[in-house]
C-alpha cells in the first residue's frame, strides 16, 4: 500500500507499470486517473489546496479500508496539490485483486471517498475570475452506496 501527496507531477505510465508488477496471484488491475478538465477552453489554471497532515491520514485510512474490505493485493493512491494546467493528471488510484469485481469496486469506492472525505479543495482560474469548485450533491450521494 502506498499513499503519495505531492506538488510535483507524477509519472503515470511508470506508476501503472510498476504497480503490482510480477505478482502472479493477481488477475485484475484497475487504475483511475483524474485529469484537469477544460471542456469550454476557458480554464487557465487549476489550483488545489489541501490540509497537510490530515490529507495523508485521510488517504491512508481510505486506502486501508479498501484494502481490508476487498482483500486487495495492493493499493496505490497519488494526489497532487498546487497549480495544475488543463490536461494534467491530478491524481490516480490503482487496485489489484484476484478477480475483476473486487478491483473495480475498490477503485470506485476509493474515488467516492477521496472526492468527499479527503481534504482537497479545487479553485478554477480563468482569465476573468477564480472560483472555488462547489461540492456536488451527487458525490455525497455516491458515498451512501458503500455503507
Amino acid at each position: 500500500m502506498r499513499v503519495v501527496v505531492q506538488a510535483e507531477p507524477f509519472d503515470y505510465a511508470a506508476e501503472v507499470d510498476r504497480f503490482a508488477a510480477d505478482r502472479s496471484d493477481i488477475g485484475a488491475l484497475v487504475c483511475f486517473a483524474g485529469v484537469v478538465r477544460d471542456t469550454d477552453n476557458t480554464l487557465s489554471m487549476m489550483e488545489i489546496e489541501h490540509y497537510p497532515g490530515m490529507t495523508e491520514k485521510a488517504l491512508s485510512k481510505i486506502a486501508k479500508e479498501a484494502k481490508d474490505r476487498w482483500s486487495l493485493g495492493d493499493v496505490l493512491v497519488i494526489h497532487r496539490f498546487g497549480k495544475l494546467t488543463p490536461g494534467e493528471k491530478i491524481m490516480m488510484v490503482a487496485t489489484a485483486a484476484p478477480h475483476r469485481a473486487a478491483a473495480f469496486a475498490a477503485a470506485d469506492f476509493l474515488m467516492d471517498y477521496l472526492k468527499s472525505r479527503a481534504p482537497f479543495w479545487k479553485k478554477e482560474h480563468s482569465r476573468e475570475s477564480a472560483d472555488w469548485v462547489a461540492a456536488k450533491q451527487s458525490d455525497e450521494t455516491a458515498l451512501s452506496r458503500w455503507s
Binding site: G34, I48, E49, H50, Y51, G53, M54, K57, A58, H79, I90, M91, M111, L114, K115, S116, R117, A118, P119, F120, W121, K122, K123, W132, V133, A134, A135, E140
Partner: protein, 81 residues
C-alpha cells in the same frame, strides 16, 4: 488552540491559521465565539451547512466537544479527486 481555515473560509477570514484561547465546550460554541469577534467571521460562518470541521485532523460534527482538542480546522465540503 490552533484554528485552521481552508479554501474560501480562509479567504473570507483572511488568514490560514490563528491561535486562540477559548473555554468553548463544543465546536458550535467556538463558532459563536468567533462570530462575536468580527464581521469577517460572521461572513465565513454564515451558513454552517456549507462548512465542515475537523478536530485534530479527523472530521467531526458541530456538536462535538473540544475537550483535549489541540487543532480545529474549518473548511468547505471537499472537492478532491
Amino acid at each position: 488552540m490552533d484554528i485552521l481555515y481552508f479554501a474560501w473560509v480562509r479567504e473570507r477570514i483572511g488568514l490560514p491559521k490563528e491561535q486562540i484561547q477559548t473555554q468553548a465546550a463544543t465546536v458550535a460554541d467556538l463558532i459563536n465565539e468567533l462570530r462575536a469577534r468580527e464581521e469577517r467571521y460572521v461572513a465565513a460562518f454564515s451558513d454552517l451547512s456549507a462548512l465542515r470541521v475537523a478536530l485534530d485532523q479527523e472530521l467531526a460534527d458541530f456538536d462535538a466537544p473540544l475537550d483535549g482538542v489541540r487543532e480545529v480546522a474549518f473548511f468547505p465540503p471537499m472537492t478532491g479527486g
